[in-house]
Symmetry: C2
Amino acid sequence: MDEPKPLRPTSEATLRRLPIYHHLLQKRLSTGIKTISCSQIAEELDYDATQIRKDLAVTGIKGRPKVGYDLAALILSIETFLGWSRVRKAFLAGSGHLGSALLGYNRFSHYGLDIVAAFDRDPDRVGTKVHGREVLPINKLAGLAKRMRVEVGIITVPAPVAQEVADFMVSGGIRAIWNFAPTKINVPAGVIVQNEDLYSSLGVLLQKLSAAHRLV
Amino acid sequence: MDEPKPLRPTSEATLRRLPIYHHLLQKRLSTGIKTISCSQIAEELDYDATQIRKDLAVTGIKGRPKVGYDLAALILSIETFLGWSRVRKAFLAGSGHLGSALLGYNRFSHYGLDIVAAFDRDPDRVGTKVHGREVLPINKLAGLAKRMRVEVGIITVPAPVAQEVADFMVSGGIRAIWNFAPTKINVPAGVIVQNEDLYSSLGVLLQKLSAAHRLV
DNA sequence: TTACAGTAGAGAATTATTTCTCGATTCTAC
DNA sequence: GTAGAATCGAGAAATAATTCTCTACTGTAA
Ligand SMILES: NC(=O)c1ccc[n+]([C@@H]2O[C@H](COP(=O)([O-])OP(=O)(O)OC[C@H]3O[C@@H](n4cnc5c(N)ncnc54)[C@H](O)[C@@H]3O)[C@@H](O)[C@H]2O)c1
Ligand SMILES: NC(=O)c1ccc[n+]([C@@H]2O[C@H](COP(=O)([O-])OP(=O)(O)OC[C@H]3O[C@@H](n4cnc5c(N)ncnc54)[C@H](O)[C@@H]3O)[C@@H](O)[C@H]2O)c1
């Protein structure tokens, strides 16, 4: 009776909902309340209370009947589970429109990510500063990543060069890639890729709008 | 025997995958090939071929055994299904970091979306131009949306004011909202909201990275 | 012509996720 | 104290999504 559970990894759906709860909980924290129940969260977000209870359970938090969860403890539990309590260094490749927006967003450091430098191929960009971070030549990425023990790579370059940039990241020892380019990138086993495809989101929105049209 | 099928709406998972196929198909189109099969797509994207077949079926495309699908017809079928073939006007609220990045991205017009104007509350921003689009005062949003028959609203304002901006959009007759603020917005029935929560994406990435650490 | 291999499409089986049900617990009010 | 209401937590049931299986079709090559 050593490993009775197969210990499945947490479902992606649950992982995506946890930050949504986190936003709400933080908002509530500032109002001064001390506890919150699943039914209250459910009411606010229009989710099913049982689903929220199961989601929160994966973080290891324990609630009390009739009361709910301790708000501060719950926030901490989510942050710990998601890996937001330990800040990891990140390199961003492609300091264009989207890359600059991410660099300008100083809130990621509260969510486990510290973008320490940006990289680009364009000589006009290299050497400039974007929101306080220096832009370095892309060919320095791998070496620096290794030296600085950078764990996360962010790809905001055009799709045709995304694979090449990902290869630099992998060779620099980066083990998790946040990919904003609308293309699949191939990485060796053990490297985590999280695609953020805005077209998928846009596709869902516009399809629903079109479908609504067709019905009415 | 009039409505034998309940006609369920297409699942969100399928809707999110269709744009991913679209990216690949477009890339293939430029190589000159004329047809493509599910097994080829599956090989490339590391998906299950049957899943791809079922996904593509919802767009109404018909394939031929041993051959696959006509590439150009398939692309068109996806575009039509997702509502990308008819371009809809959009207003963007919040011309900050992220809003500017979206305004600078001229490719959305090929994907059914034409951002025609931006809105902001900051007097320093109002009156300027961001990537060719004028920034107008936020209090003009509702009236102009109604007059110009704008269908889509994009929210890139800070979370605490997202609801207020959404209300302006709804009162201007906007029926689909692409929300980048990390907060729930409440809208009347019939209005479509698509949340694009970068923290969800980041949460998935970092949790997987943490979990990988724990195992090794 | 004929065998063969690759593939779409439909439906069944499997797996994953969400929702329901119920017992146990804990707070509040009487 | 005791009754009642709210809620957690665990397991069962229902629902949804994915993967498997089989048949029929189509092009290619012997
Ligand atoms: N901006 C958006 O709103 C938006 C929306 C959806 C998707 N995207 C995707 O995000 C990515 C970036 O978009 P963007 O609008 O910021 O583009 P952009 O052209 O503004 O920026 C791209 C940057 O990458 C740099 N670059 C090009 N090749 C490089 C290389 N080999 N190595 C390092 N840097 C290189 C360029 O010099 C440029 O600075 C694209 O893949 C795009 O499809 C952007
Ligand atoms: N920039 C990013 O990388 C990033 C990442 C994740 C999430 N987000 C989210 O996107 C949103 C925008 O982020 P940002 O970095 O662009 O912020 P930002 O501060 O650069 O831009 C916000 C803009 O909204 C305007 N604004 C404020 N109140 C307004 C109102 N009532 N009406 C109209 N305009 C108003 C401001 O003047 C400013 O121009 C935020 O909700 C943020 O959480 C941004």
